[in-house]
Symmetry: C2
Subunit: 507 residues, 2 copies
């Protein structure tokens, strides 16, 4: 490995702290790598693959490894070598006219935004809650953001991938030598391979194109507050049609008062007792912060004439539901980021790391994991999700800090489980709560779209239609493209038939 990437770029022993699960809640210390290698190029990746094959060492690929709530850079299989791509951080193309960028896996949302500003590009990036992660890593894990183009994988176009055998494949129009449309058209000749590399152990993505929105003349950020827990259904039904016909161009992110509060401080300011915060404390928190029980946020973009017309439609939809309150803030598209209200940054495509503080809600040493269930974007389904998640979380003694990210047809039901990572009882209760939600949700026909390392097998088990036919195909593909099972074994519950023998896998 040292020959492959240079000795300073191979880490072991005490230098591996950054590759452990930062917010571990399991027993003992699983998910512990034996080393990390940090290549700077495709050629170095190819040399790492040769060494891994020679020594039958499983590699666990991370772009930047910053998704702390789901395991960070830690591998599913202890003993794996983490293949850390953060040094491959070139921004290879920015095309103002055609609205796209081409990047390597080490490029973060913070990097990309800084580059666009420094070079005066008039393009808007969609950014997630915390900007330190990789554009590529986030999209491949099906992460999302809050400006237009918020479903990141849906606005990606054209990959370069290194397969387990070291071959370099360019997908779609990228396979045309000297081609002109690699990052412009999503298709090509024959089956499309891009989806294979989502939540995947089938290859190492080394380049990826993303479509960015041109900077609009005007941005209007809308906030809708609802006073009561049971207003959720009416709120969802009011917003969904606006998403479906494109009046609203972002996802609508709906958070309860507790998750909004966790962006600003710790629970101790309102309640210091054990167990979930009582309703009276929630009410005084709502009053202090001037927030609703539910708080929905979304945005409108375009020439001012068009955002004005869009806003009129939004106003009418909100006014039709009793007790909903709409607040709006309007910005010029080229606004100075420092003049933007912190709560509106994501809708303007401005990344930050402010929300790292959300993990500190519970006090102690901040840690969190998340519950992320997919459900239909209806009043009935979101209420059912709320009942299921809130009751499980509160039974485990935690506050329900969560909500929904609403699209036209589906919603992601999210709950943030903050805990003190030094508190073993809290860790246990978090683990049990997440496990219980998975079981209860599956029985009702809902499943998570991603998860912490510790739950990957259990979640894959819930995708079991027709005697696990989907997983059977995924394993067939795994065995075909990586017959020795060297790449990220166990990722998303997919285990190669022939696991690398240097480590025991299903630990």
């Amino acid at each position: 490995m040292r020959e492959a990437v240079g000795a300073p770029n191979v880490l072991g022993g005490l230098d591996l702290e950054g590759y452990l699960d930062p917010y571990a809640f399991g027993e003992g210390a699983p998910f512990r790598p034996s080393a990390a290698v940090i290549p700077a190029s495709v050629e170095e990746i190819q040399r790492v693959l040769t060494a891994a094959r020679q020594h039958q060492l499983p590699l666990w690929t991370v772009s930047r490894g910053r998704n702390y709530g789901y395991g960070g850079a830690a591998p599913r299989v202890s003993g794996s070598v983490v293949l850390d791509l953060h040094r491959m951080n070139r921004i290879l193309e920015v095309d103002q006219e055609l609205g796209y960028v081409l990047v390597e896996p080490g490029v973060s949302f913070l990097d990309m935004h800084a580059h666009l500003r420094a070079n005066k590009h008039r393009l808007v990036l969609s950014v997630p809650d915390i900007g330190w992660g990789s554009l590529i890593g986030n999209a491949l894990e099906r992460g999302f953001g809050y400006a237009a183009h918020g479903e990141h994988i849906a606005f990606s176009c054209g990959l370069e991938v290194v397969l387990a055998d070291g071959s370099v494949v360019r997908t779609g129009m990228g396979a045309v030598p000297g081609g002109t449309a690699w990052h412009l058209y999503r298709g090509g000749c024959g089956p499309a391979l891009e989806g294979l590399f989502q939540q995947s152990s089938l290859g190492i993505v080394t380049k990826m194109g993303f479509w960015l929105m041109p900077q609009p003349e005007n941005v209007v950020v809308c906030m809708v507050k609802a006073p009561r827990r049971d207003d959720l259904g009416a709120l969802v039904d009011a917003i969904r049609p606006l998403l479906m016909d494109g009046t609203v161009q972002t996802k609508a992110v709906i958070g309860n008062a507790t998750i909004v509060a966790s962006m600003m401080g710790e629970r101790a300011a309102w309640f210091a007792g054990d167990g979930p915060m009582p309703a009276s404390a929630v009410r005084s928190m709502m009053a202090d912060l001037e927030v609703g029980w539910w708080n929905a946020r979304f945005a409108l973009y375009g020439p001012t004439s068009l955002t004005t017309a869009r806003l009129d439609v939004v106003r009418a939809a909100v006014a039709a539901v009793p007790d909903l309150v709409l607040d709006v803030r309007s910005y010029p598209g080229d606004v100075n980021p420092e003049m933007v209200h912190p709560a509106d940054r994501a809708q303007l495509g401005i990344p930050s790391t402010d929300l790292v503080r959300m993990a500190a809600w519970q006090g102690g040493e901040p840690a969190h994991t998340d519950i992320s269930l997919v459900c239909p974007a209806t009043a009935a389904d979101t209420m059912r999700q709320l009942d299921l998640i809130q009751s499980t979380v509160e039974t485990a003694g935690f506050d329900y800090a969560g909500g929904f990210t609403l699209d036209a047809r589906a919603a992601i039901a999210l709950a943030l489980l903050s805990f003190d990572r030094k508190d073993e009882r809290q860790r246990e209760r978090v683990r049990d709560a997440v496990g219980n939600v998975i079981v209860a949700a599956a029985a009702a026909g809902y499943a998570p779209y991603r998860s912490h390392l510790a739950f990957m097998d259990r979640i894959a088990d819930t995708y079991g239609f027709n005697e696990h036919a989907l997983r059977s195909v995924q394993v067939t593909l795994k065995d075909a493209l990586d017959p020795e099972g060297l790449l990220s074994p166990g990722k998303q519950g997919i285990w190669p038939t022939s696991s690398a023998p240097a480590v025991s896998t299903r630990q």
Copy 2:
């Protein structure tokens, strides 16, 4: 096979006429099946697969087989048994609230539209030029339409697929037993498999969900005319920003005067000589039909307040370019299809078969094939495509009847080659012209997104980056999922390593 599907649903001999290439232009009569089987269910498909395996007979799957310009229902490998899915034509779900439908492969655009109208659903289907084809077949081949949601595969969600071994797989959230989000959320657990079944021989798609647009209050169809051939670049540059920021919600379809004329009559009305129509004849045709050298069409949807605001933005963009003329027609969203101008039907989601007549441009026995190249949506690239295609087509003695389907970032350069299928010299010239365009385009970095059976191998050859790494992966996947090579061998130039021995394959 008769045991599998019932004797009346197995065709052979003279009954196979509907399974020959309807507009064949090759030498002799290649692409000739030995039989056709017409299953009515997944179970019957499974029995057909068992029989095919037992007798090592390759199957060529078609949904409805109506893409006549690219070979219709004819198989790539002569001797194949056509697996014709048109009897599987159930509309399984229509969800007004969440805006989706679930269909089987036999459902045509005409069927779907009739069903929506008969049941008073307020949902708009995107339809292609001719409505007799299959929603599923069209989307899987990456076909497109002209209402909102025009990139059909991009608005599909959730597949059921029968693999070569007979196993039935549901993708994404469809793998959750009793799941609620199969056709609502495009993701799931692990790698996404949907793309594998595009332009594919890897499985037989038996169900597929599609997202439909809710019926808007108002639809405005815009037509922009440009007087001269060399206005193309300015036209593209005027429209592209409107597509990129979502002001315009459809693709813009740009056709020259000749292709517009071919929708209405035969060339003999303006020119009866050999070789391409001279400029003077084109000019009198433009005057007769009141069309431009270029004619762009697109649409705006929404509440009237919003379409009005969108139209103002369009007007300003068109007015900024000298000599462009904008015409608009406004319709209520629930307009009676019979009150819609025939040229606007596709933008309103109303399918028809009127454009079958385009194949009759050349006179004689109507036939056509198409050239479909992907290029960047820029002035320079579209002009380069125009030069390349027009000169090749005219050198071959045909009229250039074509244009571009413009998206925000990419365009498809299209040319319709109409010919008299009884005229051997015309057939030869068509074949040579298409072959010459493929070679010249590849040298300039452009490639077709689909093609007639006769060109699949040659086109696959142009996707040759890194010693054909993409095709190597596609063949690896083919061998893994269909080790006997029974499903559609040769489709899109992908040949199984072990071809079914009952027929010689590369003929």
